[in-house]
Amino acid sequence: MTSKVSRDTLYECVNAVLQHSQEKKRNFLETVEIQIGLKNYDPQKDKRFSGTVKLKHIPRPKMKVCILGDQQHCDEAKANNVPFMDVEALKKLNKNKKLVKKLAKQYDAFLASEALIKQIPRLLGPGLNKAGKFPGLLSHQESMMAKIDEVKATIKFQMKKVLCLSVAVGHVTMSPDELVQNVHLSINFLVSLLKKHWQNVRSLHVKSTMGPPQRLY
Protein backbone atom coordinates (compact mmCIF):
# COMPACT_ATOMS: atom_id res chain seq x y z
CA MET A 1 0.00 0.00 0.00
CA THR A 2 2.89 2.33 0.64
CA SER A 3 3.31 2.99 -3.06
CA LYS A 4 -0.33 3.96 -3.43
CA VAL A 5 -0.89 5.71 -0.15
CA SER A 6 2.15 7.05 1.61
CA ARG A 7 2.61 6.75 5.34
CA ASP A 8 2.52 10.52 5.60
CA THR A 9 -0.78 10.79 3.76
CA LEU A 10 -2.22 8.15 6.01
CA TYR A 11 -1.17 10.01 9.16
CA GLU A 12 -2.34 13.33 7.76
CA CYS A 13 -5.71 11.89 7.00
CA VAL A 14 -6.15 10.14 10.32
CA ASN A 15 -5.00 13.22 12.22
CA ALA A 16 -7.46 15.37 10.32
CA VAL A 17 -10.29 13.06 11.29
CA LEU A 18 -9.22 13.03 14.92
CA GLN A 19 -8.74 16.76 15.03
CA HIS A 20 -12.18 17.37 13.63
CA SER A 21 -13.76 15.17 16.24
CA GLN A 22 -11.89 17.07 18.94
CA GLU A 23 -13.06 20.41 17.63
CA LYS A 24 -16.65 19.40 17.65
CA LYS A 25 -17.15 16.99 20.51
CA ARG A 26 -20.21 14.81 20.48
CA ASN A 27 -21.88 13.20 23.45
CA PHE A 28 -21.24 9.72 22.15
CA LEU A 29 -18.09 7.90 21.11
CA GLU A 30 -17.73 8.50 17.39
CA THR A 31 -16.66 5.56 15.24
CA VAL A 32 -14.03 5.97 12.59
CA GLU A 33 -14.79 4.27 9.34
CA ILE A 34 -13.13 3.80 5.98
CA GLN A 35 -15.13 4.21 2.81
CA ILE A 36 -13.95 2.42 -0.26
CA GLY A 37 -15.34 3.25 -3.68
CA LEU A 38 -14.84 0.62 -6.36
CA LYS A 39 -14.43 0.80 -10.12
CA ASN A 40 -14.13 -1.75 -12.94
CA TYR A 41 -16.22 -4.03 -10.80
CA ASP A 42 -19.61 -5.41 -11.78
CA PRO A 43 -21.60 -6.75 -8.81
CA GLN A 44 -23.74 -8.76 -11.24
CA LYS A 45 -20.90 -10.85 -12.55
CA ASP A 46 -17.81 -10.34 -10.45
CA LYS A 47 -17.25 -12.40 -7.36
CA ARG A 48 -18.99 -11.21 -4.24
CA PHE A 49 -16.90 -8.80 -2.17
CA SER A 50 -17.50 -9.65 1.46
CA GLY A 51 -15.99 -11.27 4.53
CA THR A 52 -14.52 -10.68 7.96
CA VAL A 53 -11.11 -9.55 9.14
CA LYS A 54 -9.51 -9.22 12.54
CA LEU A 55 -7.97 -5.84 13.27
CA LYS A 56 -5.01 -5.19 15.50
CA HIS A 57 -6.79 -2.78 17.85
CA ILE A 58 -10.35 -3.12 19.05
CA PRO A 59 -12.54 -0.70 17.08
CA ARG A 60 -15.64 -1.10 19.23
CA PRO A 61 -14.57 -1.19 22.86
CA LYS A 62 -18.12 -0.91 24.12
CA MET A 63 -19.19 -4.07 22.38
CA LYS A 64 -21.11 -6.32 24.78
CA VAL A 65 -20.32 -10.00 24.64
CA CYS A 66 -22.25 -12.59 26.63
CA ILE A 67 -20.92 -16.05 27.43
CA LEU A 68 -23.27 -19.03 27.12
CA GLY A 69 -21.07 -21.30 29.14
CA ASP A 70 -20.50 -24.63 30.73
CA GLN A 71 -19.65 -24.63 34.43
CA GLN A 72 -16.02 -23.81 33.88
CA HIS A 73 -16.67 -20.96 31.48
CA CYS A 74 -19.39 -19.50 33.67
CA ASP A 75 -17.04 -19.46 36.64
CA GLU A 76 -14.36 -17.81 34.56
CA ALA A 77 -16.84 -15.25 33.22
CA LYS A 78 -17.99 -14.45 36.73
CA ALA A 79 -14.41 -13.94 37.88
CA ASN A 80 -13.79 -11.58 34.98
CA ASN A 81 -16.99 -9.61 35.24
CA VAL A 82 -18.22 -10.89 31.91
CA PRO A 83 -21.98 -11.45 31.53
CA PHE A 84 -22.89 -15.11 31.22
CA MET A 85 -25.70 -17.61 31.16
CA ASP A 86 -25.58 -21.32 31.85
CA VAL A 87 -27.72 -24.14 30.45
CA GLU A 88 -30.31 -23.77 33.19
CA ALA A 89 -30.72 -20.08 32.54
CA LEU A 90 -31.19 -20.79 28.84
CA LYS A 91 -33.72 -23.51 29.56
CA LYS A 92 -35.68 -21.03 31.65
CA LEU A 93 -36.33 -18.99 28.53
CA ASN A 94 -38.45 -21.93 27.45
CA LYS A 95 -37.80 -21.17 23.78
CA ASN A 96 -40.07 -18.15 24.19
CA LYS A 97 -39.54 -16.04 21.09
CA LYS A 98 -39.99 -12.73 22.86
CA LEU A 99 -37.51 -13.59 25.59
CA VAL A 100 -34.93 -14.88 23.14
CA LYS A 101 -35.35 -11.75 21.05
CA LYS A 102 -34.88 -9.67 24.17
CA LEU A 103 -31.72 -11.57 25.03
CA ALA A 104 -30.41 -11.05 21.51
CA LYS A 105 -30.99 -7.33 21.82
CA GLN A 106 -29.14 -7.05 25.10
CA TYR A 107 -25.80 -8.10 23.66
CA ASP A 108 -23.79 -7.42 20.53
CA ALA A 109 -22.36 -10.91 20.33
CA PHE A 110 -22.37 -14.28 22.04
CA LEU A 111 -19.77 -16.95 22.64
CA ALA A 112 -20.78 -20.47 23.60
CA SER A 113 -18.89 -23.41 25.10
CA GLU A 114 -18.62 -26.55 23.01
CA ALA A 115 -21.09 -28.37 25.22
CA LEU A 116 -23.72 -25.70 24.66
CA ILE A 117 -23.25 -24.54 21.12
CA LYS A 118 -24.77 -27.66 19.60
CA GLN A 119 -27.83 -27.28 21.78
CA ILE A 120 -28.58 -23.68 20.89
CA PRO A 121 -31.20 -24.45 18.21
CA ARG A 122 -32.91 -26.86 20.60
CA LEU A 123 -32.71 -24.58 23.62
CA LEU A 124 -33.48 -21.27 22.01
CA GLY A 125 -34.92 -21.94 18.58
CA PRO A 126 -33.76 -19.69 15.70
CA GLY A 127 -34.00 -16.42 17.66
CA LEU A 128 -30.28 -15.75 17.79
CA ASN A 129 -29.97 -16.75 14.12
CA LYS A 130 -32.61 -14.23 13.13
CA ALA A 131 -30.83 -11.49 15.05
CA GLY A 132 -27.58 -12.32 13.31
CA LYS A 133 -26.06 -13.19 16.67
CA PHE A 134 -25.56 -16.90 16.64
CA PRO A 135 -22.70 -17.57 19.06
CA GLY A 136 -19.12 -18.15 18.07
CA LEU A 137 -17.32 -21.07 19.65
CA LEU A 138 -15.48 -20.64 22.94
CA SER A 139 -13.21 -23.62 23.40
CA HIS A 140 -11.20 -24.57 26.44
CA GLN A 141 -8.05 -24.43 24.38
CA GLU A 142 -7.97 -20.67 24.33
CA SER A 143 -8.29 -17.87 26.86
CA MET A 144 -11.79 -16.49 27.24
CA MET A 145 -10.64 -12.90 27.43
CA ALA A 146 -8.50 -13.37 24.34
CA LYS A 147 -11.43 -14.79 22.41
CA ILE A 148 -13.67 -11.93 23.56
CA ASP A 149 -11.06 -9.46 22.36
CA GLU A 150 -10.88 -11.33 19.08
CA VAL A 151 -14.63 -11.00 18.64
CA LYS A 152 -14.44 -7.29 19.44
CA ALA A 153 -11.58 -6.80 17.00
CA THR A 154 -13.22 -8.59 14.08
CA ILE A 155 -15.12 -6.52 11.55
CA LYS A 156 -17.42 -7.65 8.80
CA PHE A 157 -17.69 -6.01 5.42
CA GLN A 158 -20.12 -6.62 2.63
CA MET A 159 -20.68 -4.93 -0.66
CA LYS A 160 -24.17 -5.30 -1.93
CA LYS A 161 -25.40 -3.47 -4.98
CA VAL A 162 -23.73 -0.08 -4.94
CA LEU A 163 -20.06 0.29 -5.69
CA CYS A 164 -19.06 1.60 -2.30
CA LEU A 165 -18.53 0.10 1.07
CA SER A 166 -18.18 1.48 4.58
CA VAL A 167 -16.43 -0.33 7.39
CA ALA A 168 -15.94 0.77 10.99
CA VAL A 169 -12.27 0.39 11.84
CA GLY A 170 -11.84 2.41 15.00
CA HIS A 171 -13.05 5.20 17.23
CA VAL A 172 -12.02 8.78 17.96
CA THR A 173 -10.30 8.14 21.28
CA MET A 174 -7.77 5.78 19.71
CA SER A 175 -4.25 7.06 19.21
CA PRO A 176 -3.24 8.08 15.69
CA ASP A 177 -0.85 5.14 15.58
CA GLU A 178 -3.56 2.66 16.46
CA LEU A 179 -5.95 4.14 13.92
CA VAL A 180 -3.31 4.17 11.24
CA GLN A 181 -2.56 0.53 11.90
CA ASN A 182 -6.19 -0.47 11.70
CA VAL A 183 -6.81 1.59 8.57
CA HIS A 184 -3.68 0.22 6.93
CA LEU A 185 -4.54 -3.40 7.73
CA SER A 186 -8.15 -3.17 6.58
CA ILE A 187 -7.33 -1.43 3.33
CA ASN A 188 -4.61 -3.89 2.45
CA PHE A 189 -6.91 -6.77 3.26
CA LEU A 190 -9.81 -5.43 1.23
CA VAL A 191 -7.62 -4.64 -1.75
CA SER A 192 -6.06 -8.11 -1.64
CA LEU A 193 -9.50 -9.59 -2.25
CA LEU A 194 -10.18 -7.51 -5.34
CA LYS A 195 -9.36 -9.16 -8.65
CA LYS A 196 -7.44 -6.18 -10.01
CA HIS A 197 -6.39 -4.89 -6.57
CA TRP A 198 -5.74 -1.15 -6.69
CA GLN A 199 -7.12 -0.92 -10.22
CA ASN A 200 -10.48 -1.76 -8.73
CA VAL A 201 -10.27 1.10 -6.22
CA ARG A 202 -11.70 4.40 -7.30
CA SER A 203 -11.41 6.23 -3.97
CA LEU A 204 -10.69 5.85 -0.28
CA HIS A 205 -11.93 8.06 2.52
CA VAL A 206 -11.67 8.03 6.27
CA LYS A 207 -14.27 9.68 8.42
CA SER A 208 -15.65 9.84 11.91
CA THR A 209 -19.37 9.31 12.40
CA MET A 210 -20.27 12.98 12.36
CA GLY A 211 -17.20 14.37 10.66
CA PRO A 212 -16.56 15.12 7.00
CA PRO A 213 -14.83 12.44 4.92
CA GLN A 214 -11.09 12.92 4.50
CA ARG A 215 -9.78 11.67 1.20
CA LEU A 216 -7.02 9.13 1.36
CA TYR A 217 -6.81 7.98 -2.24
Partner: protein, 406 residues
Protein backbone atom coordinates in the same frame (compact mmCIF):
# COMPACT_ATOMS: atom_id res chain seq x y z
CA UNK B 1 -46.81 -17.90 3.65
CA UNK B 2 -47.75 -21.00 5.55
CA UNK B 3 -45.28 -23.10 7.42
CA UNK B 4 -43.88 -26.13 5.73
CA UNK B 5 -46.15 -29.19 5.89
CA UNK B 6 -44.40 -32.39 6.71
CA UNK B 7 -43.03 -34.05 3.66
CA UNK B 8 -43.94 -37.69 3.74
CA UNK B 9 -41.18 -39.66 2.19
CA UNK B 10 -39.28 -42.82 2.73
CA UNK B 11 -36.39 -41.98 4.93
CA UNK B 12 -33.15 -43.80 5.27
CA UNK B 13 -32.46 -44.65 8.86
CA UNK B 14 -29.05 -43.48 9.82
CA UNK B 15 -27.50 -44.30 13.15
CA UNK B 16 -26.11 -41.11 14.56
CA UNK B 17 -23.53 -41.87 17.20
CA UNK B 18 -22.62 -39.34 19.85
CA UNK B 19 -19.45 -37.94 18.50
CA UNK B 20 -17.12 -36.21 20.87
CA UNK B 21 -14.66 -35.41 18.22
CA UNK B 22 -13.70 -31.86 18.85
CA UNK B 23 -10.25 -31.84 17.42
CA UNK B 24 -9.27 -28.27 16.99
CA UNK B 25 -8.62 -27.30 13.47
CA UNK B 26 -5.81 -24.85 13.71
CA UNK B 27 -4.37 -24.08 10.33
CA UNK B 28 -1.29 -26.28 10.22
CA UNK B 29 1.79 -24.71 8.83
CA UNK B 30 3.13 -27.87 7.31
CA UNK B 31 2.70 -27.57 3.59
CA UNK B 32 4.54 -29.21 0.88
CA UNK B 33 5.73 -26.34 -1.21
CA UNK B 34 6.17 -28.24 -4.40
CA UNK B 35 6.12 -26.08 -7.46
CA UNK B 36 2.88 -25.65 -9.28
CA UNK B 37 4.11 -27.32 -12.44
CA UNK B 38 3.39 -30.99 -12.81
CA UNK B 39 6.09 -33.07 -14.36
CA UNK B 40 5.55 -33.94 -17.99
CA UNK B 41 5.47 -37.45 -19.32
CA UNK B 42 8.80 -38.51 -17.93
CA UNK B 43 9.56 -42.14 -18.27
CA UNK B 44 9.99 -42.82 -14.58
CA UNK B 45 6.65 -41.39 -13.49
CA UNK B 46 4.52 -43.77 -11.57
CA UNK B 47 1.13 -42.72 -12.85
CA UNK B 48 -0.54 -43.90 -9.67
CA UNK B 49 1.32 -41.42 -7.53
CA UNK B 50 1.12 -38.28 -9.57
CA UNK B 51 -1.57 -37.80 -12.09
CA UNK B 52 -0.95 -35.06 -14.58
CA UNK B 53 -3.89 -33.38 -16.14
CA UNK B 54 -3.93 -32.00 -19.61
CA UNK B 55 -6.30 -29.80 -21.49
CA UNK B 56 -8.33 -32.20 -23.54
CA UNK B 57 -10.73 -29.75 -25.14
CA UNK B 58 -11.29 -26.05 -25.01
CA UNK B 59 -13.78 -23.75 -26.63
CA UNK B 60 -14.60 -20.10 -26.35
CA UNK B 61 -18.37 -20.33 -26.04
CA UNK B 62 -19.13 -16.70 -25.56
CA UNK B 63 -17.61 -13.35 -26.31
CA UNK B 64 -15.11 -12.21 -23.74
CA UNK B 65 -16.78 -9.93 -21.24
CA UNK B 66 -19.54 -12.49 -20.93
CA UNK B 67 -18.63 -14.58 -17.93
CA UNK B 68 -19.60 -18.14 -17.20
CA UNK B 69 -20.30 -17.98 -13.49
CA UNK B 70 -22.16 -21.23 -12.98
CA UNK B 71 -22.19 -24.60 -14.64
CA UNK B 72 -22.90 -28.23 -14.03
CA UNK B 73 -22.39 -31.48 -15.83
CA UNK B 74 -24.31 -34.69 -16.27
CA UNK B 75 -22.23 -37.84 -16.29
CA UNK B 76 -25.11 -39.94 -17.58
CA UNK B 77 -25.70 -37.92 -20.72
CA UNK B 78 -22.16 -36.53 -21.01
CA UNK B 79 -23.42 -32.98 -21.24
CA UNK B 80 -22.57 -29.73 -19.56
CA UNK B 81 -24.79 -26.69 -18.95
CA UNK B 82 -23.42 -23.19 -18.47
CA UNK B 83 -25.05 -20.01 -17.20
CA UNK B 84 -23.78 -16.82 -18.83
CA UNK B 85 -23.69 -13.32 -17.43
CA UNK B 86 -25.83 -12.21 -20.41
CA UNK B 87 -28.78 -13.98 -18.75
CA UNK B 88 -28.83 -16.96 -21.10
CA UNK B 89 -27.74 -20.53 -20.49
CA UNK B 90 -26.46 -23.13 -22.88
CA UNK B 91 -26.13 -26.87 -23.15
CA UNK B 92 -23.17 -28.63 -24.74
CA UNK B 93 -22.06 -32.14 -25.47
CA UNK B 94 -18.88 -32.73 -23.53
CA UNK B 95 -17.31 -34.56 -26.45
CA UNK B 96 -16.42 -31.91 -28.93
CA UNK B 97 -18.12 -29.20 -26.86
CA UNK B 98 -20.85 -29.08 -29.47
CA UNK B 99 -23.51 -26.52 -28.67
CA UNK B 100 -26.91 -28.17 -28.38
CA UNK B 101 -29.28 -25.49 -27.21
CA UNK B 102 -29.60 -22.03 -25.67
CA UNK B 103 -32.12 -21.18 -22.97
CA UNK B 104 -33.49 -17.67 -22.70
CA UNK B 105 -35.99 -16.26 -20.30
CA UNK B 106 -34.34 -15.00 -17.16
CA UNK B 107 -34.64 -11.27 -16.68
CA UNK B 108 -31.81 -10.85 -14.23
CA UNK B 109 -28.57 -12.50 -13.14
CA UNK B 110 -28.59 -16.29 -13.12
CA UNK B 111 -27.38 -17.41 -9.74
CA UNK B 112 -27.13 -21.17 -10.13
CA UNK B 113 -27.72 -23.95 -12.66
CA UNK B 114 -28.13 -27.69 -12.15
CA UNK B 115 -29.36 -30.78 -13.92
CA UNK B 116 -32.42 -32.24 -12.26
CA UNK B 117 -30.88 -35.23 -10.44
CA UNK B 118 -33.87 -37.38 -11.30
CA UNK B 119 -34.22 -36.27 -14.91
CA UNK B 120 -31.16 -35.73 -17.10
CA UNK B 121 -33.35 -34.05 -19.72
CA UNK B 122 -34.11 -31.18 -17.42
CA UNK B 123 -31.94 -28.24 -16.47
CA UNK B 124 -32.91 -25.94 -13.65
CA UNK B 125 -31.66 -22.40 -13.05
CA UNK B 126 -32.32 -19.76 -10.41
CA UNK B 127 -32.13 -16.00 -10.77
CA UNK B 128 -32.44 -12.75 -8.89
CA UNK B 129 -35.43 -12.13 -11.16
CA UNK B 130 -37.32 -14.17 -8.60
CA UNK B 131 -37.75 -17.32 -10.61
CA UNK B 132 -36.39 -20.83 -10.71
CA UNK B 133 -36.87 -22.09 -14.24
CA UNK B 134 -37.04 -25.66 -15.40
CA UNK B 135 -35.91 -26.24 -18.98
CA UNK B 136 -36.55 -29.30 -21.09
CA UNK B 137 -33.33 -29.75 -23.01
CA UNK B 138 -35.05 -31.58 -25.83
CA UNK B 139 -37.20 -28.60 -26.73
CA UNK B 140 -36.31 -25.16 -27.87
CA UNK B 141 -38.30 -22.23 -26.58
CA UNK B 142 -39.50 -21.10 -23.21
CA UNK B 143 -38.97 -22.89 -19.95
CA UNK B 144 -41.22 -25.82 -19.17
CA UNK B 145 -41.98 -24.60 -15.66
CA UNK B 146 -41.44 -21.39 -13.76
CA UNK B 147 -41.33 -21.40 -9.98
CA UNK B 148 -41.67 -18.20 -8.05
CA UNK B 149 -42.59 -16.97 -4.62
CA UNK B 150 -45.07 -14.15 -4.98
CA UNK B 151 -46.59 -14.57 -1.55
CA UNK B 152 -45.24 -11.27 -0.25
CA UNK B 153 -47.88 -8.64 0.41
CA UNK B 154 -46.26 -6.36 -2.11
CA UNK B 155 -46.49 -9.17 -4.66
CA UNK B 156 -42.81 -8.63 -5.30
CA UNK B 157 -40.90 -11.76 -6.18
CA UNK B 158 -38.17 -12.87 -3.83
CA UNK B 159 -34.78 -12.89 -5.61
CA UNK B 160 -33.15 -16.32 -5.55
CA UNK B 161 -29.42 -16.65 -4.95
CA UNK B 162 -29.24 -20.42 -4.65
CA UNK B 163 -31.19 -23.64 -4.94
CA UNK B 164 -31.02 -27.39 -5.03
CA UNK B 165 -33.35 -30.18 -6.15
CA UNK B 166 -33.73 -33.28 -3.99
CA UNK B 167 -32.30 -36.48 -5.39
CA UNK B 168 -35.77 -37.88 -5.94
CA UNK B 169 -36.59 -34.86 -8.05
CA UNK B 170 -39.62 -34.10 -5.89
CA UNK B 171 -38.51 -31.03 -4.04
CA UNK B 172 -36.99 -27.69 -4.81
CA UNK B 173 -35.36 -25.68 -2.06
CA UNK B 174 -34.25 -22.13 -2.91
CA UNK B 175 -32.51 -19.44 -0.88
CA UNK B 176 -33.16 -15.74 -1.30
CA UNK B 177 -31.41 -12.44 -0.91
CA UNK B 178 -32.34 -10.42 2.13
CA UNK B 179 -35.87 -9.37 1.22
CA UNK B 180 -37.57 -6.78 3.39
CA UNK B 181 -35.34 -7.73 6.28
CA UNK B 182 -35.79 -11.49 5.96
CA UNK B 183 -33.77 -14.18 4.24
CA UNK B 184 -36.07 -16.91 2.94
CA UNK B 185 -35.54 -20.58 2.30
CA UNK B 186 -38.44 -21.41 0.01
CA UNK B 187 -39.69 -24.94 -0.65
CA UNK B 188 -41.50 -26.02 -3.75
CA UNK B 189 -42.77 -29.06 -5.54
CA UNK B 190 -40.29 -29.53 -8.36
CA UNK B 191 -42.80 -31.28 -10.56
CA UNK B 192 -45.78 -28.97 -10.31
CA UNK B 193 -44.01 -25.75 -9.38
CA UNK B 194 -46.28 -25.26 -6.42
CA UNK B 195 -44.96 -23.47 -3.33
CA UNK B 196 -44.98 -25.69 -0.28
CA UNK B 197 -43.77 -23.29 2.34
CA UNK B 198 -40.67 -21.63 3.66
CA UNK B 199 -38.41 -20.71 6.52
CA UNK B 200 -37.34 -17.17 7.31
CA UNK B 201 -35.97 -17.15 10.79
CA UNK B 202 -32.80 -19.16 10.58
CA UNK B 203 -30.62 -16.80 8.58
CA UNK B 204 -30.14 -13.08 8.97
CA UNK B 205 -28.53 -12.42 5.61
CA UNK B 206 -28.45 -13.56 1.96
CA UNK B 207 -28.70 -17.32 1.56
CA UNK B 208 -25.91 -17.98 -0.90
CA UNK B 209 -25.92 -21.78 -1.01
CA UNK B 210 -28.42 -24.62 -0.70
CA UNK B 211 -27.51 -28.30 -0.79
CA UNK B 212 -29.65 -31.35 -0.14
CA UNK B 213 -28.05 -34.10 1.93
CA UNK B 214 -26.52 -36.72 -0.37
CA UNK B 215 -28.51 -39.57 1.18
CA UNK B 216 -31.22 -38.34 3.51
CA UNK B 217 -34.04 -36.96 1.42
CA UNK B 218 -35.36 -34.94 4.33
CA UNK B 219 -32.16 -33.15 5.17
CA UNK B 220 -30.93 -29.96 3.54
CA UNK B 221 -28.15 -27.52 4.32
CA UNK B 222 -28.06 -23.79 3.64
CA UNK B 223 -25.12 -21.41 3.70
CA UNK B 224 -25.39 -17.68 4.14
CA UNK B 225 -23.61 -14.37 4.15
CA UNK B 226 -24.34 -14.42 7.88
CA UNK B 227 -21.68 -17.12 8.19
CA UNK B 228 -23.96 -19.92 9.27
CA UNK B 229 -24.35 -23.36 7.76
CA UNK B 230 -27.81 -24.47 8.80
CA UNK B 231 -28.94 -28.06 8.60
CA UNK B 232 -32.66 -28.76 8.61
CA UNK B 233 -34.77 -31.83 9.08
CA UNK B 234 -37.71 -31.30 6.75
CA UNK B 235 -39.82 -33.96 8.46
CA UNK B 236 -40.69 -31.36 11.09
CA UNK B 237 -43.73 -29.27 10.42
CA UNK B 238 -42.33 -26.01 11.69
CA UNK B 239 -39.11 -24.09 11.33
CA UNK B 240 -38.19 -24.08 15.01
CA UNK B 241 -38.10 -27.86 15.15
CA UNK B 242 -36.67 -28.26 11.67
CA UNK B 243 -33.45 -26.38 12.45
CA UNK B 244 -31.14 -29.11 13.69
CA UNK B 245 -27.75 -27.41 13.65
CA UNK B 246 -26.17 -24.08 12.94
CA UNK B 247 -22.48 -24.30 12.20
CA UNK B 248 -20.83 -20.93 12.63
CA UNK B 249 -18.01 -20.24 10.17
CA UNK B 250 -17.67 -16.76 11.70
CA UNK B 251 -17.27 -15.34 8.20
CA UNK B 252 -19.39 -15.22 5.03
CA UNK B 253 -20.05 -18.25 2.83
CA UNK B 254 -19.40 -18.41 -0.90
CA UNK B 255 -19.68 -22.15 -1.63
CA UNK B 256 -20.97 -25.11 0.32
CA UNK B 257 -21.00 -28.81 -0.56
CA UNK B 258 -21.56 -32.13 1.15
CA UNK B 259 -18.97 -34.86 0.93
CA UNK B 260 -18.57 -38.39 2.22
CA UNK B 261 -16.52 -39.14 5.27
CA UNK B 262 -16.01 -42.33 7.21
CA UNK B 263 -18.62 -43.11 9.77
CA UNK B 264 -22.20 -42.06 10.20
CA UNK B 265 -21.75 -38.42 9.50
CA UNK B 266 -21.24 -36.41 6.39
CA UNK B 267 -18.77 -33.69 5.75
CA UNK B 268 -19.47 -30.18 4.58
CA UNK B 269 -16.85 -28.25 2.67
CA UNK B 270 -17.19 -24.54 2.79
CA UNK B 271 -15.37 -21.86 0.82
CA UNK B 272 -15.51 -18.42 2.39
CA UNK B 273 -15.66 -15.14 0.49
CA UNK B 274 -12.19 -14.41 1.85
CA UNK B 275 -10.92 -17.47 -0.07
CA UNK B 276 -10.42 -19.74 2.88
CA UNK B 277 -11.65 -23.30 3.18
CA UNK B 278 -13.32 -24.89 6.16
CA UNK B 279 -14.13 -28.58 6.45
CA UNK B 280 -16.85 -29.51 8.88
CA UNK B 281 -18.44 -32.67 10.15
CA UNK B 282 -22.17 -32.06 10.02
CA UNK B 283 -22.49 -32.25 13.77
CA UNK B 284 -19.28 -30.45 14.61
CA UNK B 285 -18.80 -27.44 16.84
CA UNK B 286 -15.97 -26.08 14.77
CA UNK B 287 -14.30 -26.94 11.46
CA UNK B 288 -12.00 -29.94 11.80
CA UNK B 289 -9.76 -28.43 9.16
CA UNK B 290 -9.16 -24.88 8.05
CA UNK B 291 -7.01 -23.68 5.18
CA UNK B 292 -6.26 -20.00 5.00
CA UNK B 293 -5.69 -18.21 1.72
CA UNK B 294 -2.06 -17.89 2.74
CA UNK B 295 -1.73 -21.61 3.34
CA UNK B 296 -3.34 -22.45 0.02
CA UNK B 297 -1.12 -20.10 -1.95
CA UNK B 298 1.99 -21.27 -0.10
CA UNK B 299 1.28 -24.75 -1.41
CA UNK B 300 1.37 -23.53 -4.98
CA UNK B 301 4.04 -20.84 -4.55
CA UNK B 302 1.64 -18.36 -6.12
CA UNK B 303 1.30 -14.90 -4.61
CA UNK B 304 -1.36 -14.73 -1.92
CA UNK B 305 -3.03 -11.65 -3.36
CA UNK B 306 -3.27 -13.22 -6.79
CA UNK B 307 -4.69 -16.55 -5.74
CA UNK B 308 -8.30 -17.65 -5.48
CA UNK B 309 -10.25 -20.82 -4.78
CA UNK B 310 -12.81 -22.27 -7.17
CA UNK B 311 -14.13 -25.43 -5.58
CA UNK B 312 -13.52 -28.44 -3.39
CA UNK B 313 -14.11 -31.74 -5.18
CA UNK B 314 -14.22 -35.30 -3.93
CA UNK B 315 -12.64 -38.08 -5.96
CA UNK B 316 -14.00 -41.62 -6.15
CA UNK B 317 -11.32 -42.60 -3.63
CA UNK B 318 -12.96 -40.27 -1.12
CA UNK B 319 -10.04 -37.86 -1.15
CA UNK B 320 -10.71 -34.16 -1.36
CA UNK B 321 -9.14 -31.83 -3.88
CA UNK B 322 -9.04 -28.07 -3.98
CA UNK B 323 -9.25 -26.37 -7.35
CA UNK B 324 -7.28 -23.16 -7.01
CA UNK B 325 -6.02 -20.55 -9.42
CA UNK B 326 -4.04 -17.33 -9.62
CA UNK B 327 -4.41 -14.34 -11.91
CA UNK B 328 -1.01 -12.83 -12.55
CA UNK B 329 0.05 -10.11 -14.93
CA UNK B 330 0.94 -12.58 -17.65
CA UNK B 331 -0.91 -15.75 -16.91
CA UNK B 332 -3.94 -17.44 -15.48
CA UNK B 333 -2.73 -20.37 -13.43
CA UNK B 334 -4.79 -23.30 -12.26
CA UNK B 335 -4.03 -26.35 -10.15
CA UNK B 336 -5.47 -29.16 -8.11
CA UNK B 337 -4.32 -29.53 -4.52
CA UNK B 338 -4.80 -32.74 -2.59
CA UNK B 339 -6.03 -32.35 0.96
CA UNK B 340 -4.12 -34.78 3.10
CA UNK B 341 -5.08 -34.45 6.79
CA UNK B 342 -4.22 -30.86 7.52
CA UNK B 343 -1.83 -30.32 4.67
CA UNK B 344 -2.17 -29.40 1.04
CA UNK B 345 -0.07 -31.07 -1.63
CA UNK B 346 0.05 -30.04 -5.24
CA UNK B 347 -1.58 -32.87 -7.11
CA UNK B 348 -1.29 -31.46 -10.58
CA UNK B 349 -1.05 -28.21 -12.44
CA UNK B 350 -3.60 -27.60 -15.16
CA UNK B 351 -1.39 -26.16 -17.87
CA UNK B 352 -2.92 -24.20 -20.68
CA UNK B 353 -5.57 -22.45 -18.65
CA UNK B 354 -6.46 -19.09 -20.12
CA UNK B 355 -9.00 -17.47 -17.83
CA UNK B 356 -9.95 -16.69 -14.31
CA UNK B 357 -12.01 -19.74 -13.42
CA UNK B 358 -15.30 -19.24 -11.60
CA UNK B 359 -16.94 -22.63 -11.67
CA UNK B 360 -16.04 -26.25 -12.16
CA UNK B 361 -17.60 -29.67 -12.46
CA UNK B 362 -15.75 -32.81 -11.54
CA UNK B 363 -16.74 -36.23 -12.84
CA UNK B 364 -15.59 -38.55 -10.08
CA UNK B 365 -16.26 -41.60 -12.23
CA UNK B 366 -13.58 -40.84 -14.77
CA UNK B 367 -11.66 -38.11 -12.99
CA UNK B 368 -12.30 -35.52 -15.67
CA UNK B 369 -12.81 -31.88 -14.84
CA UNK B 370 -14.59 -29.09 -16.65
CA UNK B 371 -13.83 -25.47 -15.84
CA UNK B 372 -15.36 -22.21 -17.00
CA UNK B 373 -14.98 -18.58 -16.13
CA UNK B 374 -14.43 -15.00 -17.03
CA UNK B 375 -12.95 -15.61 -20.46
CA UNK B 376 -16.13 -17.28 -21.62
CA UNK B 377 -14.16 -20.46 -22.22
CA UNK B 378 -15.20 -24.03 -21.48
CA UNK B 379 -12.23 -26.26 -20.74
CA UNK B 380 -12.24 -30.01 -20.37
CA UNK B 381 -9.34 -31.53 -18.48
CA UNK B 382 -8.43 -35.17 -18.41
CA UNK B 383 -5.91 -37.09 -16.41
CA UNK B 384 -2.81 -38.41 -18.07
CA UNK B 385 -0.58 -36.64 -20.54
CA UNK B 386 -1.68 -35.31 -23.87
CA UNK B 387 -1.13 -37.81 -26.64
CA UNK B 388 1.37 -39.35 -24.28
CA UNK B 389 2.86 -42.71 -23.95
CA UNK B 390 4.04 -44.09 -20.70
CA UNK B 391 7.05 -46.27 -20.64
CA UNK B 392 5.15 -49.41 -21.28
CA UNK B 393 4.13 -48.11 -24.67
CA UNK B 394 0.50 -47.73 -23.68
CA UNK B 395 -1.21 -44.67 -25.09
CA UNK B 396 -2.57 -42.82 -22.13
CA UNK B 397 -4.89 -40.28 -23.51
CA UNK B 398 -7.36 -39.98 -26.29
CA UNK B 399 -6.78 -37.45 -29.02
CA UNK B 400 -7.23 -33.98 -27.74
CA UNK B 401 -9.57 -31.69 -29.59
CA UNK B 402 -8.39 -28.20 -29.25
CA UNK B 403 -10.10 -25.44 -31.13
CA UNK B 404 -8.40 -22.11 -31.25
CA UNK B 405 -10.26 -19.77 -28.95
CA UNK B 406 -9.06 -16.61 -30.60
Amino acid sequence: MKNLESIKQKIEEVEISQSDDDSDSEDSGSDSSESGESSSADSDINVDLKVSYHLSQEKAVSMQKIYICHMCGSASTNQVATAFSDLTSSLYDINGLQHIRTFEGHQKTITNIRFNPSDPHQIVSSSTDGTVRFWDIRKAGKSALIFKDDTAESKQLKPFLSFDISKSGHFLCAGTELFDGDAFLVFGDARSGKILGGYWESHSDDITQVAFHPNLSDSVASGSADGLINIYNLKSDNEDDALISSLNTESTIDKLAWYQIEGAHKGLSCILDTMEIQLWEDDGVSPYSTFSRKHISKSTSWKVDESYVVNVHQAASGDLYVLTGASTKNSEDLAFLHIKDKTLLVETALPGNKQRVRCSWYNSENGSLITAGEGGILSVWKSGTEKGHDNSGKILSKTSVRSKPY
